[in-house]
């Protein structure tokens, strides 16, 4: 009976104590897909705050799409070509895209929700689900793994449109897990084989009871659902999707695969988790732990879809040597040259570019860490990583020319090792144009979302919600 009172988490801790390698159960084998063998498998989206110092990110004079350097002094993209730190250069698995716009119709602080939805923000939320949820849940690509998708965050567990990447049907925000231990337990907690016969029997009984409870809840939802209108039914449909996630965790175990469960994140490295409540000094440790858990989960086939909402390092004596308030004193002070200001004239202030570039480099260093981990686990080549921010020029809170980076493996779907520059948003004479103006010719990220969906074998030609169909329709040209 003692075991029965143990929570799943406690049970896991007991089982994992001291163990670095535990046999893992694959709940279900991968299902074949209609789309052919080259379709992509894993998708990760990473958000980084504070936009970009374009001066240390964009193509420089004399560089071309295929001939460019990211190792020059100050360049924020350095981690992608830094074999000394990350074991190898990932430059050939990098695709930088300049000139992508997030047409959010909202302030940059509210528009992170546009990154994966391609939707305007209205009523404090986007209008449709995000690409990760569209692929994993609506198109079922994540249903063959124990966890369909996972949303992780650093420091802030809010679900406002500016704090979230993943959204369910109708743009309902999905909460983020900010505790790496909880992330670990969610991803690996139910996949551990109980070691002794007693706990095996206990686990069997718990599984039976758990399934009967879920059957009961499903039945009750089935009674309630027909009484509702279509929009209200969405709430219960999402509830049912969530129940299926729990059911997958209850699925009986199968033979261990070759994968090994990583050790549980060391919680002593982040005694506080929350922003504004003492968590800031641990944000880098939390980020690293999240990345390591996520890489293992992808490599083990626990999930194929993840999002990570990163944070800044706003605290005194941060390791970057930046002002304690990154937001006010790094992002807000950025004073761009024309490349960072939609080609508006002006020299800008070079001394404001370097602190922001330094912060950007920190953000990209975490992406490189993820690539390194995935590579070591043999999972980089079938994992596409989409990295973006909610702003381009952060002091303007501009959602135009947002820093867009694709990296990882694309199975030949996209041509990597390049630095693309899309056309300007406005003609030369009217650099102040904005979405809604006749002179606006910007490229929305919706096209990129369409391209990625197609690369995952999903036959769509539009994605997102915009005022004009031209912004939601068609792929991003030049990717292939």
């Amino acid at each position: 009976m003692t075991n029965m009172r143990l929570t799943r988490r406690q049970l896991l801790r007991a089982t994992l104590a001291g163990a670095a390698s535990i046999p893992l159960i694959r709940a279900l084998e991968g299902v074949s897909r209609a789309s052919g063998p080259t379709a992509l498998k894993n998708f990760i989206c990473i958000y980084h705050p504070h936009g970009i110092a374009a001066e240390y990110w964009a193509l420089r004079s004399g560089e071309t799409e295929t001939s460019f350097d990211v190792t020059y002094d100050g360049c924020s993209l350095q981690p992608f070509d830094d074999a000394a730190t990350y074991g190898k250069s990932f430059k050939d698995k990098l695709l930088v895209i300049e000139g992508v716009d997030h047409l959010s119709n909202a302030n940059g602080h509210d528009s992170a929700g546009t990154i994966l939805t391609g939707s305007t923000i209205s009523n404090q939320k986007p209008q449709n689900s995000s690409l990760d949820q569209f692929l994993a849940v609506e198109k079922g690509l994540g249903m063959s793994t124990p966890i369909s998708s996972i949303a992780l965050g650093v420091g802030n567990d809010g679900t406002a449109s500016g704090l979230t990447l993943s959204f369910g049907p109708g743009g309902a925000p999905l909460p983020k897990i900010i505790d790496p231990v909880e992330a670990f337990n969610t991803l690996f907690g139910n996949l551990v084989v109980p070691s002794n016969p007693g706990s095996q029997a206990d686990a069997d009984r718990k599984r039976k009871v758990g399934q009967s409870i879920l059957d009961f809840v499903t039945g009750e939802i089935g009674t309630l659902r027909p009484r509702l209108g279509v929009v209200e039914q969405q709430k219960l449909d999402q509830h049912l999707t969530s129940i299926r996630e729990l059911e997958k965790r209850l699925a009986p175990g199968m033979a261990p695969s070759s994968c090994t469960v990583p050790s549980m994140p060391d919680a002593t490295k982040f005694p506080s988790l929350k922003q504004y409540n003492g968590g800031e000094p641990y944000f880098e440790a939390i980020t690293d732990a999240h990345i390591d858990v996520l890489a293992s989960a992808i490599a083990c086939g626990v999930t194929q879809f993840g999002t990570l909402f990163m944070n800044d390092l706003s605290f005194m004596n941060n390791p970057l040597g930046l002002p304690a308030d990154n937001h006010a004193n790094v992002a807000h002070t950025y004073n761009a040259s024309p490349i960072g200001d939609n080609n508006r004239p002006g020299d800008g202030a070079p001394d404001t570019w370097t602190p922001l570039a330094k912060f950007n480099r920190y953000s990209y260093s975490k992406v490189a860490r993820l690539m390194q981990k995935l590579d070591a686990l043999g999972a980089l080549d079938n994992t596409l990583i989409y990295v973006s921010s909610d702003m381009g020029n952060p002091s303007l809170h501009s959602t135009q020319n947002v820093p867009t980076v694709l990296c990882g493996g694309t199975g030949g779907m996209f041509k990597m090792g390049r630095h693309m520059r899309l056309g300007p948003d406005c003609s030369d004479g009217t650099p102040w144009c904005a979405p809604g103006d006749a002179t606006f010719s910007g490229v929305s990220n919706n096209h990129l979302l369409v391209s990625i969906a197609q690369a995952f074998g999903v036959d769509v030609n539009t994605f997102g919600t915009q005022n004009e169909t031209k912004h939601t329709t068609g792929t991003l040209s030049g990717l292939t």
């Binding site: 909202a106 305007t120 209008q127 998708s149 679900t159 309902a172 999905l174 929009v231 209200e232």
Partner: protein
Amino acid sequence: MGTTLFRLTAALSLSALALSACEGNIGGSDHSASLGPGGNGFQGGSLGGGPGGGSSLSGGGASAGTSSGTGTAGTMTDAGVGGTLVDPNAASPLLPARIRRLTDAEFDTSVKSLLGFDSTFGASFTPDTRQDGFSRNDAQRVDPVFISQLQDAAQQLATTARGNVNNLAPCSDQGGSEACAKTFLTTFAARAYRRPATDAEVTALLTVYRVGADGATYADGIQATIQAVLESPGFLYVTELGDTPLQAKTTLNQYELASALAYLVTGSPPDDTLLAAAKAGDLSDPAKRQSQLDRLLALQPASTQVVRLVEEWLGIDAITQTAKDSNTYPGFAALRDSMKKEADDFTAEVMWKNGGSVGDLLSANWTIADDSLARMYLNLDQNGAIPRNGNHVDLSSVIRRGILDQGAFLSIYAHATETSPVLRGVAVLRRVACFNIPSPQSLNITVVPVVADPSKTTRDRFAQHVSDKVCASCHTNIDSIGFTFEDLDGMGQERPRQMENGALVHTENGMTVDSSTTVQTGLSFDGNYADSSALDQALGASPDVLDCFARKLFRNAATRSDPTVAGAETAFLTTAFALAPTAQGKVHDLLSAFVASDAFVNRRASE
């Protein structure tokens, strides 16, 4: 209705006037989209963006716009392709039929009511999704993260409840029996679902009992059913569906009315008295609903609900998520909890215990604060005597009036290292006055940040706002309000004080702070103000602020704030505006009007 239209028109024409100065800088579709919300009091940002939101609201904007003589103000925008469909019944005075998931706080109170012991699981769940600042809303979902947390909580709660199985589910049969389980489940499910359980529901729970007790004990079976109930839709969702298939007008059943009333007033499920009233069919009678409201409002949990309403309205609950640069404001961290407690206690005293109005909340010359916060307010050193009158701290000797001059509001609407006239001005306009301020982005305006400059006061640095014609259209309004708070720094302390020409002044960077302004919004609190304490008193006496509070109370009470319920909101405001002047701005009178209304009892079929 005349009153309603007049007030809506006043708000809209202002926006129109302010924005007309920006002509040429503002995209056409954004313009009308942001005006529509303004006319209806929906805030920019919350509704201003999407094509659906724009077009649904410009109906209201159009009529008001026409009557104010600015014909373009309410222009309908085309619904964007792929945009959210606007409910064609948005103009209906009835709210749509629906289900609403309990908030995290309601989960805990509901568990306590059901199981008899405290739960803190809800507080540790993923935070409530907010709408218009309110946690009680239509947006809570059972998503994969929530359901996982819920399952863990239900498991542990059921384990704890099992320890009390002999009281919870007593059974005289040796070792327990299915008959006992059935008896237990019939009453337990009714309590959990806040209505009698159907035979089918009890039968379904008995199935869970059998699996749980199979090869185990009666207590194991009961434990499994308790977990099942805590995870069930009957427990998690408050229904507003009535007993018949949905029609154009569907009447809620008695138990739904009881739940609506109980969660509204006490944040908890209905108590025995209310359930008995439901069983007797009393709740169809508006007078009986009102007397239940009076009874519930006198209970202690109602105090928590009133505080939640006010704090979420003003955004003051965010104080627990606010931090300051410890070099600039070394005292803030130690005072943050005091500020939160002050906001709680002061609000409860004014709005609940005293039954006061929002005018009192905004202009009181006293507060309820602990010694360290009182000393900060009164500019006293460690040993200074605090003038207390009962539990009140007398603030009449200093420049501080009402909740907007308290530490929580002033700290939240400021930056980590400095004040923010913009955040404070926007908060007052949007939240306190329901005056729409569109975001610069939605107006296609490029924002140039105000750079730090120790040789100037904050106000001087922001002078650019009004020298730039584009910015001035909005910032004349925003900054004129924000500047009145400039005597108070980024955590609400008075800036350094000195005498100048026989008068007390405050200084910043060694320069005299000017907190005097002329507010010219077109709203009823326009005028010349020496500082925020003068403005606070004008706000407290302003009919526009009373109206705004009524609108916000409706959104919290109806737990809806989206454009699809604009008609119901307008209908409520028509009632609220007709209340006697002494009743306006009071929680009791506004709730009483809502509870007695047709909209409280009836729903329309939703899409």
